[in-house]
């Protein structure tokens, strides 16, 4: 297998099958945490199949349709302009049909993040939230009725950081910036590498008291997602 073949496969994999988005921030592609790993891994299935959400919730708040999510940049330079490369999610968040576009790989400009959630335990850096400015999501009612673009922002600053801690820099590979994407858990019970992104069940709609994401059924603002336990094989 030639190097280019390997990189093409990686690129295609990132485009088509990335659902589990917790990846090492500074590695070139962050593949070790994605679903392409051997089935001897801790949890991820070999083909990522089990990462399909079994959560049938119609996403956020008052429900109605799939809700796009994006990963808010955690700081640094924010991309501007609407994303152009995103594919459309047609089933729950990160569920079937929901494809996460990798902003660092594709040419999308992205959407300005509206503030990552601030954790209380020094753990939270990012959250997955409905895209605030794509129009379909009514932030007043918390209702979404249309399919929305999924977008994963390129990571302007790499590395897990603690609350108030320094943001690590990333040398990146080609364009001077990191290409890895990552999304940290928003709750203390989330486990990177072991979870997938799902709409937060009603019972757990308690959101961090500070930071951007609020919203529970019908509440205002984007609806936070959380890292749910993987469904059984």
């Amino acid at each position: 297998m030639r190097e280019q073949d390997i990189r093409d496969r990686i690129h295609k994999f990132l485009r088509d099958t990335v659902r589990q988005v917790v990846v090492p921030a500074s590695m070139g592609v962050g593949l070790a945490l994605l679903g392409g790993c051997p089935d001897s891994s801790l949890d991820a299935p070999p083909d990522g199949s089990a990462q399909t959400s079994t959560n049938t919730s119609t996403s956020t708040g008052t429900g109605g349709g799939a809700v796009a999510i994006y990963s808010a940049p955690m700081g640094g330079t924010l991309a501007t302009g609407a994303g152009t490369g995103g594919q459309v999610a047609t089933g729950g968040v990160t569920g079937t049909g929901g494809v996460v576009e990798t902003g660092g790989v594709i040419e999308t400009g992205g959407v300005i993040g509206t503030g990552g959630v601030t954790g209380t335990g020094g753990m939270v850096l990012r959250y997955m939230a409905p895209m605030p400015d794509a129009g379909a999501f009514n932030t007043a009612t918390g209702t979404s009725t249309e399919t929305r673009t999924l977008y994963m922002a390129p990571m302007p600053d790499a590395g897990l950081v603690s609350k108030d801690g320094p943001t690590k820099t990333d040398a990146g590979k080609k364009d001077g910036g990191a290409v890895a994407l990552y999304s940290a858990p928003i709750f203390k019970d989330a486990g990177p590498g072991l979870k997938y992104m799902a709409v937060m069940p009603d019972a757990e709609l308690a959101v961090p008291s500070t930071g951007g994401a609020t919203g529970s059924g019908g509440a205002t603002g984007p609806i936070p997602l959380y890292m749910a336990a993987m469904p059984p094989d």
Binding site: M27, L31, D189
Partner: protein
Amino acid sequence: MWELTLACNLRCKHCGSIAGSKRADELSLDECLRVAGELVGLGCRRITLSGGEPTMYPGWHEVGRRLVELGARVNLISNGLTWSAKHIEQAQNAGLCGVAFSIDGFEKEHDEFRAPGSFVKVVHAIDISVAAGLPVAVNTTINRLNQGQLKSLRQFLMDHHVFAWQLQFATATGNMGEHKDLVSPPEDLLWLVPQIAELCRINCPEFKVYPSDDIGYFGNPEPDLRDSDTALPFWIGCRAGCQVIGIESGGNVKGCLSLPSSMHGEARFVEGNVRQKSLREIWNRADAFAFNRLFKEEQLGGFCRVCRYRDVCRGGCSWATYAQGGTGNETCFYYQVVKHRRFDLLAESPTDGEIRYFDGRAAAAPSRP
């Protein structure tokens, strides 16, 4: 990987854990049962109970049963020395999906590494387990003594109805640090890795070869070494602390059980202890497993620093890299191919930078024994 105890009834020459006596502070059964809940609660689905010799931990089957009840697939690695019908019954009652025994060659070579008479006993353990319907896998540590036996060993294991065979290289750590002469010479990877790939290529439903994470990387054998069912059938980096976790019998947590710790006078890979914090807290700590989760190419040294695959490979197996000083990995197939200019084993020529790295260092390609 969960080391239930460091106690062992063997003192194998290649034991990376330096097993023998149990740790002074090993987790009690109650603690293990709690950790079992935390482990599965964290999302872990596949768990291997290990040691030492795990059957020397009195409640090994109870830990296994708890894990199974919680929904995990659990197996056990044993040296088979004292394996009996009672162990089989305990394993089956606990719901274990199988047991893996260690065989390091045929009788002479195996006993040389382990103990006189141990080969006969482990083969007996295999046979009685298979007869009882307990699926059996085998682990083999490849070393200078047995590296020429792989093909015949495969047939032997198939004849004994083993269903899976994991291969790994001996590394000069732990006890093997005293027997470095028995480690397979790195240049032998030029024929060993293609041979392992060949063994993988002829896998069948009844018997499958699994190269461990220290075997590879890249070059022509690579696709055959990885699971072809995956989207990315090539090495994509060490999974320690990302998709794999190791728990020592004293409660220390590492990204991979193979990584060194107190037995090696090394603490940097210990991320926490389940007696002080929950497994979830340890796993989720922002800077946990930083050597891998926050990996940067600047961590690489030697040839890895110029390797075209460095961002994908990340230096191969973290343990192997550590064993070689922490900056490079000479037990890499691609490294050896470029070093010895065996470009016939590659799909494309190395980069200029890679070739220049070995200017003045290249050695004649070794011949196959």
